[in-house]
Point group: C3
Chain length 304, copies 3
């Protein structure tokens, strides 16, 4: 049985429905501290070859709260990577230590799939370059489901640096498994969703625009993403664009009704903190859901 989690492309709707129900149940148990024995004696290996806070910490909190242990590969400069070891050798070595699950982030597209081919332990892709970040999509969809009670029929705007965003690829493939969903890709032409992503969507209706003002009144959710400075080859292009998609109370005051606002975080300038107290702001709740959704996923993988 394949227990790897590499991409949302092949994850069916039923998987989300089951996972969300399990997340609800586990959340209650975690709040009562009664979930503790679920992963005792189990070890999660976390390997982050790019900076991460939210994903790494939420996996560590999830595993710890289930009573399991975490062994972290550590920052690159403290590891054999500094001595010239290949990714393949590092993964094979870690797999040899028999972790129950391996979580891996890399700046290279396909790294997690590569790892999964090498490892006998289940591998979770925690972000591979601009490609995918499937557990982010799971917590995003969970947040949408909890906020609106459904995903079918919703209109979701994905805004910002879509060209370099693994988050928006993964959530797009996820939304595509639900019915009558419309995705509005909101970005300047040079940062629009990659055609290889859009071409894989079969079910959702797709709209593209370069201005959120054009579509905001139609949206149920506006999902904002960071311009990923580290993925630009050219700093001046980054500087020119970064101001174009900044939301704040002033810029939003012209609209009668706001969609729910989401963001995978971290944010830089694109969401002003003056929005944080609006009932529409769901991004901190979204981050919080990361622990519960990932705990449910870990438990499911480990008990399979």
């Amino acid at each position: 049985m394949n227990r790897d989690v590499l991409s949302t492309l092949s994850i069916p709707r039923k998987f989300y429905e089951d996972l969300f129900r399990e997340t609800d149940g586990l959340k209650k148990r975690l709040e009562r501290k009664s979930a503790l024995g679920l992963c005792s004696g189990r070890v999660l290996a976390t390997i982050f070859m790019e900076p991460s806070t939210r994903t790494r910490l939420s996996f560590q909190f999830a595993m710890t709260k289930l009573g399991g242990a975490v062994v972290d590969f550590g920052p690159l400069e403290s590891t054999s990577t500094a001595k010239g070891e290949t990714f393949e050798d590092s993964m094979r070595m870690i797999d040899g230590y028999s972790p129950d699950v391996i979580v891996v982030r890399s700046k290279l597209e396909g790294a997690a799939r590569n790892a999964a081919e090498i490892c006998s332990a289940p591998v979770i892709n925690a972000g591979d370059g601009s490609n995918e970040h499937p557990t982010q999509a799971m917590l995003d969809l969970y947040t949408i489901q909890k906020t609106r009670g459904k995903i079918d029929g919703l209109k979701i705007g994905l805004m910002g640096d879509l060209a370099h965003s693994r988050t928006t690829s993964s959530i797009s493939y996820g939304l595509d498994k639900f019915n009558h969903v419309t995705i509005y890709y909101i970005a300047p032409p040079e940062l629009q969703i990659r055609s290889e992503v859009a071409s894989l969507l079969k079910n959702v209706k797709v709209e593209k625009t370069d201005r959120y003002e054009n579509v905001i009144n139609d949206l149920d959710f506006l999902y904002v993403t960071r311009l990923q400075k580290e993925r630009f080859n050219n700093t001046s292009e980054y500087e020119k664009l970064k101001g174009s998609y900044q939301l704040n109370r002033t810029s939003l005051s012209q609209f009668e009704r706001l969609p729910f606002i989401m963001h995978p975080l971290p944010r830089v300038d694109e969401l002003d903190p003056d929005l944080d107290k609006l009932p529409a702001a769901k991004y901190f709740e979204q981050a919080k859901n990361g622990v519960f959704v990932r705990a449910a996923l870990l438990r499911r993988i480990i008990s399979n």
Copy 2:
């Protein structure tokens, strides 16, 4: 109920008395390995935005020995701070993951208070710039109490870089809650205790001098601190002063009777290792007490 530990300014004498009694009891249990269940299922989040060994490790040892788990935010360059995330957003995110206690160190004064305003979890200040380091004061006072059986009536010299030292601020406010204590601030004028610290002391008698030789015969304890190179704007000023307060067997041999010597550690040049075997040298015992005092504090906060 406020369970944050941000400053010693507002901590009453009774708090120390209770904490020290609890520390004594817990120390015995830790030595017998029978304290293990006290924090099982609990998670401590440690966030060190400045280098730390003693404080970070002693909190991690304390929590681990109580049977709890630790999730560390990790070095700054591995986190979202490297992507431009604000301190406020990082704290809000971590708090969303529901740790049982958050320990935070920052180079910015007021950072822990800022964190406590954002977080629903209890926040312990593990050092905020030159401002305060309250758990250091707790273990310092515990060490004084265990060494002399009392704090009331003692004469304590605080020497070194008082201007930049959060340690001496916090212990000063702590000593101020006891009776008939005299604090001798021993430093050159440019490194003397900040007037905003001294002005908050109500109970202790305060003396200032620039030479320890003037007062050493009166002291029960001489508490030495490191010149904090990283807080000087000007390296030449640092170089000029660093030699002025170096203690060794030769410099101390002229005195008939030595006070107990304390130091928050790490030391650089200010305490020669030739002093380490003197019965008066209490600084390694002081460091060791850090685990017990912090364990007692964590347990108290978590069981409240």
Copy 3:
């Protein structure tokens, strides 16, 4: 009783025999997840002052799987070492926190012995400069024993940068405790085994050569090591030599029968990945054995 593990020089044959039997038993229990309680309530402190992946992670996996906890000193730049603290003070501090075992790696020869003199907790040398790495030798010898069912009478080639390798020193002293073993040191003259190592061998037969082709047909095992770039003073010398000892299918195709190939890993260019699937390639199994052997060692030290 001395529970430190600093060098293989003084470890008798009986120690290995017992350890290997305990490793076999523990391996079965770890695979059934029934070893979990063996170190519960115990804390391992890991201190790596040089980059490490395999050694650090395998100790962390070993302790975690025994149900114990690990506190890691962290990367140097996050610690008091960055503030100028001496190694001696750091070790004394950590020992004061009462870990059950301390594992230490340093770039300085003798660092672990120095630590053991300071610490009351048992100290395991996880590599001290070019000197020794005794637990690597234990897992190497375990791998040889499991592969051939014996160590006595075998012919072992140690190849590569023997002059700078702590691994080959430690395994040499280990092999020297068995009977009728021949060690072939295979290296150019400038990288040959140090005379102070060879002079300590009493029991093994020693041969030296600069070409593996001369001896490969006689070998039971060919143990390859990395040129340790970080130990060369002169980069051009490193570049000149690194190609001389690269093994791949082509270079090995001329030999009728291959010895088992071992390597402490990480490898850089010296072993081509095209060898990995050969039945003779034992280096990943060797790495995997690290967790089991170190778990058996930790358990033995802790239960003594």
